[in-house]
């Protein structure tokens, strides 16, 4: 036997390729640094950055469901905004019932009230997601045009039903006692609620990553995104998996709705369709179907809109469009395009 046994050769990807895969992740700190250079004031920058991260993470919570649903079943749900609105209204109703708890100066009671409101919203929007999938989306699998039209119709009907149930006026609600006001960090005033929003958003992102990367169901979802037919051929009922993902996505949208409502302290029946625009921008930037891309896109959009809202308030929304255009020039399918094995 000669010593020169044939060794398996592992293809080394070129350094450049490995670096370019990491570039999207670097965009967030780069944007933060650019923002710092443009603003030039540490305390303002810190306040804005935390606000941007909070906003980005809330958008991420709402957008993640949409993007996974698209990846799995090739369905884009224009009615996604309706879940956001319904979540916010249900959450606010729950908080209004628990007004004794929210007005009390106890941290525990306040957080319990918010937690219960979130639970109510998640349950309501999850159930609504089930109904939406069965009644509105299921008959139009595979027809993109009809999907867009029908889910848009669902959005209209839901908005009108909200008018019927909760009345046409905007609802105002103050945040619970202990979540009001801000704390001073390094001279910068940071709203307490924003810190909480960042916490919830990060926790959800990590939980989602765990579920997608380390559990059986996550494995099936990822496999389904890549090649649904093959998963079905291996004996898994992908329709049921999809229904589960749809419900989870709707529930996340509802959760995001409550968080967004508490952030703005005012909710209207149209908030969902307004946020839907931001959600779409984020999903497009991230690449349709990609959770990581959606996360990075949401952070970019959140930071950029807060920086521009400070520097040039009139062009805040236009700046996110410009970001979207710039990213699409660079990567026409978004930051992390989902590769379909078809």
């Amino acid at each position: 036997m000669s010593e020169t046994a044939i060794r398996p050769r592992i293809e080394q990807t070129a350094l450049f390729d490995r670096l370019s895969a990491a570039v999207p992740i670097l965009l967030v700190p780069v944007l933060a640094v650019v923002g710092f250079a443009a603003i030039g004031d540490t305390t303002t920058w810190l306040t804005l950055t935390v606000a941007g991260l909070a906003m980005g993470l809330m958008i991420f919570v709402m957008a993640s469901g949409l993007t996974v649903v698209f990846g799995l079943m090739d369905i884009i749900n224009f009615g996604h905004g309706a879940f956001v609105t319904v979540g916010a209204f249900v959450g606010f109703t729950a908080l209004a019932w628990l007004s004794g708890w929210t007005a009390a100066p106890s941290v525990l009671l306040n957080l319990a009230a918010v937690f219960l409101a979130i639970c109510a919203a998640v349950l309501a929007t999850g159930a609504m997601g089930y109904a939406f999938e069965r009644v509105i989306v299921m008959p139009v699998y595979g027809h993109h045009l009809k999907q867009i039209l029908v889910t848009m119709g669902g959005l209209i009907v839901t908005q009108q039903l909200i008018h019927v149930i909760w009345g046409p006026d905007a609802i105002h609600l103050a945040r619970p006692q202990t979540l009001q006001g801000s704390i001073i960090v390094a001279g910068a005033a940071i709203e307490k609620y924003r810190i909480m929003a960042v916490g919830i958003g990060l926790a959800l992102f990590l939980a989602m990553q765990y579920v997608l990367r380390a559990t059986r169901i996550g494995l099936l979802v990822r496999a389904g995104v890549e090649n649904g037919e093959m998963v079905e051929a291996l004996g898994y009922r992908i329709k049921r998996l999809f229904l589960l993902v749809f419900i989870a996505g709707s529930a996340l949208a509802g959760l995001g709705g409550v968080m967004w409502g508490l952030y703005q302290e005012t909710i209207t029946a149209h908030m969902g369709s307004e946020i839907l625009v931001l959600v779409f921008i984020v999903v497009i930037i991230g690449g349709l179907g990609s959770v990581e891309g959606c996360f990075i896109g949401a952070l970019l959009v959140g930071l950029l809109s807060n920086y521009t809202a400070f520097l040039a308030p009139k062009v805040a929304l236009v700046s996110t469009i410009a970001l979207m255009v710039a990213i699409l020039m660079w990567r026409p399918q978004g930051l992390y395009p989902v590769v379909k094995a078809k």
Partner: protein, 353 residues
Amino acid sequence: MLKSLLSGDYPQSRILSLIVLGIGVSLILAPFLFPGTKSLDTAAKIAIFIVLVASYDLLLGYTGIVSFAHTMFFGIGAYGTALTLSSMGPSFTAIALGTLAGAAVAAVFALAIGLFSLRVKAIFFAMVTLAIASAFAVLVSQLSWFTGGEDGLTYSVPRELTPGFRPIREKVFDVAINGRLIAYYLIVAVSAFLFLVMLRIVNSPFGRTLQAVRDNAFRAEAIGYRTVWYRTTATVLSAVMAAFAGSLLAIWLRYTGPATTLSMEIMLDILLMVVIGGMGTMYGAVVGATIFILAQTYLQDVMAVAEKATEAVPLVSLLVAPERWLLWLGVLFILSVYFFPSGIVGRLRGQRG
């Protein structure tokens, strides 16, 4: 004569012919048949929306592209005319200049959006246009020094188009002949012309290719048609037509603001009109726009009666309140996408989804 006027595309159903004929005759005789300011307003709005909806159908029904930026083009046309009228003073030169400028800007925008996002999937285009259109609406309401912001622009139109202008002293069939009437007939004539132009476009070889691209883009590409080029051209054409419709609205209303031209509600209205009327036929736009605007104007009166009648039943009376008319149209919209994807016109022509 009729054949070349309609480009050989007849309604192909006796009832539909009667309906379309009825709508056309009513629009032409509206000032005499239905006197009153409100009905004249409604008639003018129907004429303008027929053009707008037909131009959207060119995109949605014939090319299979869902765009949410159609009101943006409509608004660009309206603001083009409004801006020239308010800065240059009321003259026909200003109207012509504003209309052309609006159409040109709309064409450039449509070309940019089309080249940029039509290469990917239809769904992608829908999302991108939704984002861009809402950003545009926000921008218009922010730049108040230029566009008048949320309040919009109020301006005067040439004297020949105002109620103060009386070419004939006597009344004709009890109707005063004034500039408002001239403005109405100007709008009806231009709308009819634009509609016939679009009918010509969709029945040309170009229109047939669009339908081929809609039905099977892959096959169309394989035969040798550059689908991106066809889709982009359709987008530009429909944007220009929408801009013309916007100019007509600006002339008629003598006011242009975000709520009348750019709002998402109008976009949804257009979508409902196309789908309920019938996608993929120009006559669908006529029927859809007429029914929808009549419903918008008069259904609310009917619903107010229904609300009165069901006052005792708590939930039902809320559901039939006049403000909830959109709820019922939304339900109708979903049902028609499922069960009558070819809309009223498709039904009347005896087609099946």
